[in-house]
Amino acid sequence: MKKLVGVLAIQGDFQAHIAVLNKLKVDSREIRNKRDLENVSHLVIPGGESTTVSKITRANGFWDMLAGFEGPVMGTCMGSVLMASRIVDPDADGWGMLDMEIRRNAYGRQISSFTAAGRIEISEEPFEMVFIRAPKIIKIGKNVKPIAWLGDEITGVMAGNKIALTFHPELSESETLHEYFISLPGGPD
């Protein structure tokens, strides 16, 4: 399957992801409806407002199609929320791509947004993590593997070909995580 990265463009910082993908010279496409998903090998779910995105995507079975996407998926901030099996504050169901529970806006409002150097599994280098009204992963199932940390706190997880990050790698200088994501083989895990 030819590599084509879809970036969900309902609402949020999808352009920031596309800018990174352009830097990495990989083809990408903005995804706004079911038709756009055709031939997409990888899917990125950006940051944004989960209430907005879930309201718009619930129409016409688009939500179920996203939830059932079989290729690699990387969700950042809001994306990680939608990928979870259980969302808290306010309580809702996510796509269940990863067996985990996640709390929205868990650090507080914008005044508590911050950047800090964290650690990622795939690199020795510290990774700049940007947290904007970020969620926190509060529980993970046994087949979900932590892959990113801020201090002792888990800020990124992976299961199969699904990656959920509570921070915004698309806003930091390093493309390491995007590079890793697009290196995953397309198609079902």
């Binding site: 949020g12 706004r32 944004g48 907005t52 718009i56 950047t115 806003l171």
Partner: protein
């Protein structure tokens, strides 16, 4: 300043609001309607611009208890407006932990000469602009987001279109200038030369630019998005229409699907009356909000 970590966190929130609709609300009920319709943020204020225009008098920051009430009922970001130059109102809004502050021409200016030094605040700011000089001066003061001023409360898109085109034309012009011309361009625009150099290099503003001031229909939103707006603010357009919930939903859909006229058409059906609106020529010059 553009490399500053705080600045990154501030612009970061502006990035998250892209492709969405930010709605003016005056109470908790309206905030809930906005969130349910898919707004990506709400703007808390005392009165919508159309009422400010109709009622006259001094328009100030909203009552803090109203802002708290709105914060309580929604989980999306809550913005609030302060008067131009009124840094004490901005301090109050920061103490209330709103997510974004709009130093807005819609309220009665508190200082006719100086804007707030926005870089000093931890909360990000948005300001309106009519042209590139204004836009860059506001960035110089530390805004994390710009918006067109348009003509708030008019229900008439013509001024927002003018402002969006004016800013984008001026940016395109800079990308074609020689390096020797940049300082004089900075002088002519009354703008920091570093930002002129930034524009020459990147061809776009270092902060998102949204549309505001006169958006009343789904097609208005689609128009502004196609002209280069990265999101839209809707003030009086929603709660001054006959069906606020329906219209709010329709404008959200049209903003996401601005490139798809079929969806915009579908969203525009059976919405009832849009707000009445004003011809800009009928507004006396001293009552224009955009010149503040």
């Amino acid at each position: 300043m553009l490399q500053d970590k705080d600045f990154k966190v501030k612009v970061g929130l502006a990035e998250m609001l892209k492709g969405g609709v930010i709605m003016d609300v005056t109470n908790a009920d309206q905030a809930k309607i906005a969130e349910d319709a898919g707004a990506c943020a709400v703007m808390a204020l005392e009165k919508v611009p159309a009422d400010i225009r109709a009622e006259g008098g001094v328009a100030r920051m909203a009552d803090p208890s109203k802002i708290e009430e709105i914060k309580k009922v929604v989980s999306i970001p809550v913005m609030a407006k302060c008067r131009i130059g009124h840094f004490a109102e901005a301090q109050v809004l920061q103490a209330l932990e709103v997510d974004f502050i709009d130093e807005s021409e819609v309220l009665t200016p508190a200082d006719e000469h100086y804007h707030i030094d926005k870089a000093k605040f931890k909360i990000p700011f948005v300001c309106g602009c009519r042209n590139l000089g204004e836009a860059l001066r506001r960035i110089g003061e530390g805004v994390a987001m710009l918006r067109t001023k348009g003509e708030a409360g008019s229900g008439n898109i013509v001024e927002a279109v003018r402002h969006m085109r004016t800013v984008n034309d001026a940016i395109r012009r800079i990308t074609m200038l020689d390096d020797e011309q940049l300082m004089t361009e900075a002088k002519n625009l009354g703008a920091p030369v570093d930002l002129i150099r930034y524009l020459k290099q990147y061809g776009k503003l270092p902060v998102p630019n949204f549309a505001a001031g006169g958006i009343a229909t789904p097609a208005d939103a689609a128009l502004m998005m196609q002209l280069g707006a990265e999101s839209v603010f809707v003030g009086s357009g929603i709660f001054k229409s006959s069906d606020p919930a329906g219209r709010a939903k329709a404008i959200v859909l049209a903003t996401t699907h601005y490139k798809d006229p079929k969806i915009v058409a579908e969203a525009s059906k059976t919405l009832g009356e849009a707000m009445k609106g004003l011809d800009i020529k009928d507004i006396p010059e001293d009552q224009l909000l955009q010149t503040r």
